[in-house]
């Protein structure tokens, strides 16, 4: 019974944050359309990786959406490095969720976790492009 009460309390504490984050995500998905995202990539592997990581960090939503977008980006010629950086940042970096994460897990942890995840997204993008190129 204690475990049940403790779990309910945790969900009660989380509820306003959860609702807020969902509302913000829905708003961003309404305002930013896919064509606007695709126009940002110019063909430079390093710059595109950085741009990919930035967009992935900001763009919220289901990972499936990122796979669809990533597939489209590849088909129009965006480099694999940039697309992978975009995918990694999408699922590991959370600008929209940052306030909620900072509130629940601590500001210092959230800042460093998101920063390292952002840098990792660029490195993973470059490494994936390199490794897949060899295979």
């Amino acid at each position: 019974m204690n475990a049940f009460k403790k779990t309910c309390w945790s969900f009660f504490m989380m509820a306003p944050v959860l609702v807020s984050v969902v509302l913000l995500i829905a708003l961003l998905q309404t305002i930013i359309d896919n064509d606007s995202l695709l126009a940002l990539f110019r063909g430079n592997i390093f710059a595109d990786s950085f741009v990919g990581a930035i967009i992935g960090s900001i763009a919220p939503g289901n990972p499936i959406t990122s796979y669809v977008l990533g597939g489209e980006m590849l088909s129009i010629g965006v480099s694999l490095t940039a697309v992978i950086a975009f995918l990694v940042a999408w699922v590991t970096v959370g600008v929209v969720q940052f306030p909620a994460e900072a509130l629940m897990l601590g500001k210092r942890f959230s800042i460093f976790r998101n920063l390292f995840s952002f840098l990792s997204a660029i490195f993973i993008g470059i490494l994936t492009g390199f490794i897949v190129g060899i295979l």
Binding site: N2, A3, F4, K6, T7, W9, S10, F11, M13, M14, P16, V17, L18, V19, S20, V21, V22, L23, L24, I25, A26, L27, Q29, T30, I31, N62, P63, I64, Y67, V68, G70, G71, L74, L80, I84, V88, V91, T92, Q97, P99, A100, E101, L103, M104, L105, G106, R108, F109, F112, R113, F116, S117, S120, F123, I124, L127, T128, I131, V132, L135
Partner: protein, 176 residues
């Protein structure tokens, strides 16, 4: 008595949470004045998001209930505090891979671990390995390729530990 004091402390911390909520509501109100269509579409989309995540919410509740039932403070202190070892990293990384639902749903569960002094590196490993979505692997393969999917997933797994290493340097655990 200690539990009641903790609850009071948590309620005192809630203003920050409610301020954030209030700020989002105000933002929506402002957008509704500027563009009712955007505000309406956003609200409809948010309802869709909640519907899609309902099953994940239930799963997260069950997961947290089982965790609270089985994992005592003693167990947390033994496995998740202080220095982290290979066994702990692997357990937490597997938990992250198998966890479902949006990341913010798991904040409450991780916040409890944090309050019990769980190592921040382990929390980071859990969050990072959530990027490896096993049920979505077939979808990723269909959009990219088997090679890209494997390399992507393996690198994510490896980088989760690299990130945890740096997190532990810069962020120290809190103890309640």
């Amino acid at each position: 008595m200690i539990r009641k004091l903790n609850r009071i402390k948590e309620l005192k911390d809630m203003p920050g949470i409610w301020k954030f909520f209030a700020a989002v509501i105000l933002l929506f109100g402002f957008i509704a004045l500027l563009s009712p269509e955007i505000a309406t579409n956003s609200l409809v989309k948010s309802v869709e998001i909640f519907k899609n995540m309902f099953s994940s919410l239930v799963l997260a509740f069950v997961f947290m209930f089982v965790f609270n039932l089985l994992v005592t403070d003693k167990v947390v202190k033994k496995y998740l505090q202080n220095d982290i070892g290979v066994k702990q990293c692997l357990i937490v990384s597997i938990a992250g891979i198998f966890s479902t639902g949006p990341i913010y749903m798991w904040y409450a569960y991780l916040s409890e671990l944090k309050d019990q002094g769980a190592n921040y590196g382990l929390i980071s490993i859990f969050l990072y390995n959530r990027a490896i979505k096993l049920p979505l692997i077939p979808i990723m393969i269909s959009y990219f390729s088997v090679e890209i999917t494997i390399v992507f997933s393996v690198l994510l797994f490896i980088f989760s530990f690299i990130n945890a290493f740096f997190i532990n340097i810069f962020v120290k655990p809190q103890k309640s």
